[in-house]
Every structure is written in structure tokens, then in C-alpha cells.
Symmetry: C2
Subunit: 82 residues, 2 copies
């Protein structure tokens, strides 16, 4: 069993409305010292395979087909045996 | 300047509809070896303060007032000087 963490970030220059709104709300609450807010999404997957390199290949495919949009996202994959 | 990362997870037993739907979609795409999918949200904040312990206090307050819902979320804070 492997745990794969896929961290999905927006590429530079791509707007992050959730981050913008979080920043506005923090300012409204008086947290003026916050200069920037970004959001990052992580998928934590539990995968039942024997071989770490197969897991890596599968997760790469999952990123390309479902979890990320290559136009706007960058991603990182971390795999750990459980 | 400090970078604060707030990692927000759902508490055990709290349903994660996005995770459930991700798992279903992965199965539909043929990734049957995925046994569980969870989603994690991270806020990446840039904070202009001099003192790390002030940053920590502020970010704790932000978590309690805006970033997390204590009924359903747990959170972790990591702070790094920039």
C-alpha cells in the first residue's frame, strides 16, 4: 500500500480568486500585515499496488487525466510506502 | 517577512465529498487500485512582521476567525522566515 500526495499549485500569473478573497477578508478582519495569500490543493491518495514505480506512473496519469489542468496548474507528487 | 503555511484537513468521520467524487472519477477512468482519496487545503500567507512569535499568534487567530471551521477541521501551521 502506498500513500501518494499530489500538491497542485496555480502557475505564476494565473489568478487565484480564492486567495484574493482570503486576503481581502483577512484585511477586513484587521490582519493588515498579510501581504499575499495563495491557495494550494492537495490530494491524498491511498493506492494498493506492489511497486513504487508503478504507483508513480499511475499517479502521473491521474494528474494528467483528472487531478490537474496543465494549462493553469503545476503539480508535485510524493509517494510513501504505508 | 514570514511565510506561513496553514494546512487544513477534515477531522476523522467528517465526510469529504470532493474526495469521494475524486475517488469515483478515478475508478471510472480505470484506476481501480486507488482505495481512498482525501483533499487537503493549504493557505500560503506572506506576512510582514518582525517577530516569529507574533506571526504565530496572528495566524492562530486567522485560523480561528476565518481559515478553518473548528467543528470539522484540524489545522497545522508552519512558519518560515523569508
Amino acid at each position: 500500500m502506498f500513500e501518494a500526495k499530489v500538491t497542485v499549485r496555480l502557475k505564476k500569473g494565473i489568478s487565484d480568486p480564492e486567495g484574493v478573497n482570503t486576503l481581502k477578508a483577512l484585511h477586513l478582519l484587521g490582519f493588515e500585515t498579510v501581504k499575499n495569500a495563495k491557495t494550494i490543493r492537495t490530494f491524498d491518495l491511498l493506492i494498493d499496488r506492489k511497486n513504487k514505480s508503478d504507483v508513480k506512473k499511475d499517479v502521473e496519469q491521474m494528474c494528467q487525466r483528472l487531478l490537474t489542468n496543465p494549462v493553469i496548474h503545476t503539480y508535485e507528487i510524493e509517494i510513501e510506502e504505508k
